[in-house]
Symmetry: C2
């Protein structure tokens, strides 16, 4: 598997050092590189992800992530934001890199390396204004097959998400501004795939002091309405996490 050394001796050197850096870079093999965005949302007690129909005949009918190649001199994260804007119109989303996918055969048209970016957002706040390629929120659990290696990418991002929402209260990004504790718990249960004790869950979040009671109640629910809260972003930013402790 490991290939033998590729000689780079053809690069001009002076006293053993390379002087022409442009020539050096020109001598490197070049690869098309793309970014793919995995945008998670939460609605109807279910984890959703933004997908489009693949443009490729050979993947006809299959679902695909939002992706595009990186333009010259475009930072990859910038490319991911561009893709998101072009495909969905969204601009106020925070993306995080999850990983690269570079299997030589992952793209049927030849070698393409992709970098996956991930985000969580609340569906209510981000109306889809563009519907090209049937862009829509797809139930995460119902995804069986996808174009390219996108199923693998999405699964990696899901694991990233599970870890993420346990370390940071990013779950709030998936909810509307105002949410009830029940909604918050549903979200955690859905993403982590566990059942949580309601009382302990409420206590946990109450003690963190990251929720602001906005004095409103749920409406149109067929049972006793719950209080609505909003997330205290300022407090979160201030305290973030001092986090020293061995934990395994």
């Amino acid at each position: 598997m490991i290939k033998s050394s590729i000689p780079t001796n053809h690069i001009p050197k002076k006293e053993g050092l390379i002087t022409d850096v442009h020539k050096l870079v020109e001598s490197y093999p070049r690869v098309p590189i793309t970014v793919d965005c995995v945008i998670f949302g939460f609605d109807e007690n279910e984890l959703k992800v933004l997908l489009i129909r693949s443009d490729l005949e050979m993947y006809k009918g299959k679902w695909s992530l939002l992706g595009d190649f990186a333009a010259d001199n475009e930072e990859l994260k910038e490319a991911a934001y561009r893709v998101l804007k072009e495909r969905t119109g969204m601009t106020d989303v925070y993306l995080e890199e999850v990983g690269t996918f570079s299997a030589p055969q992952r793209h049927p048209g030849g070698r393409v390396i992709t970098v996956a970016y991930c985000s969580l957002l609340n569906i209510q706040h981000h109306e889809l204004k563009i519907h090209a390629n049937e862009l829509h929120w797809h139930s995460f659990s119902s995804i069986k097959e996808m174009a390219f290696d996108h199923k693998k990418i999405i699964d990696t991002c899901y694991q990233w998400l599970q870890k993420r929402i346990q370390e940071h209260p990013l779950g709030f990004n998936l909810l509307p501004d105002k949410f009830s504790l029940r909604e918050l718990q549903n979200l955690y249960e859905a993403i982590l795939g566990v059942q949580l004790d309601r009382r302990n869950f409420r206590k946990k979040f109450a003690s963190m002091d990251l929720l602001i009671d906005i004095g409103e109640m749920e409406e149109d629910v067929p049972h006793r309405p719950g209080k609505l809260y909003k997330f205290n972003y300022e407090k979160y930013e201030k305290n973030k996490r001092k986090w020293v402790g061995i934990d395994f």
Copy 2:
């Protein structure tokens, strides 16, 4: 900063779908892509990292990570293992991806994207057989400046390392097979930059039951010798981490 959409309408389509995938991929811009390895070690109570002298005249005297471009059809992780083998002779090292660095001006010779890979290993077990470009273990804390954006890469990897050794007992990889609890504690203190209570530290590791008392003692120490332990890899692999719990 966000660029406008790049039209891809020149790709042949049938019924709106792309049929010639090779032509599609050929139409993508191509970028040289490299891998860089950040190999951490621990010796003399200090975190070390494997560095070489930069080959470039413009970075003359500066230290650089172990890197090379990715060859055609080479998976990036494979490329990283190849670099490691070529530069150090090591083959039995486990690499993990840390992130990509794609700032357009990060390489003075033109656009080059790099993916950073990271590993921890114990210096005693990996004698450096190759010494090209002054390959050596460099004290991490004394690194001030490096070639390219390698300082930034190495700092990102350091943060990754700090997080990593708190979630997994990977710290053991930085120590010799046989180690004393004091050495283990020194390692954690050095990497996390904190002071830990000796008794509590010992209790913590004792209760995890991941250390095997090998019945040997330290030698040649100017004080009472401590017991030597080895890490119970099997047990660790079995239990890894069930890990559900909200923790922020």
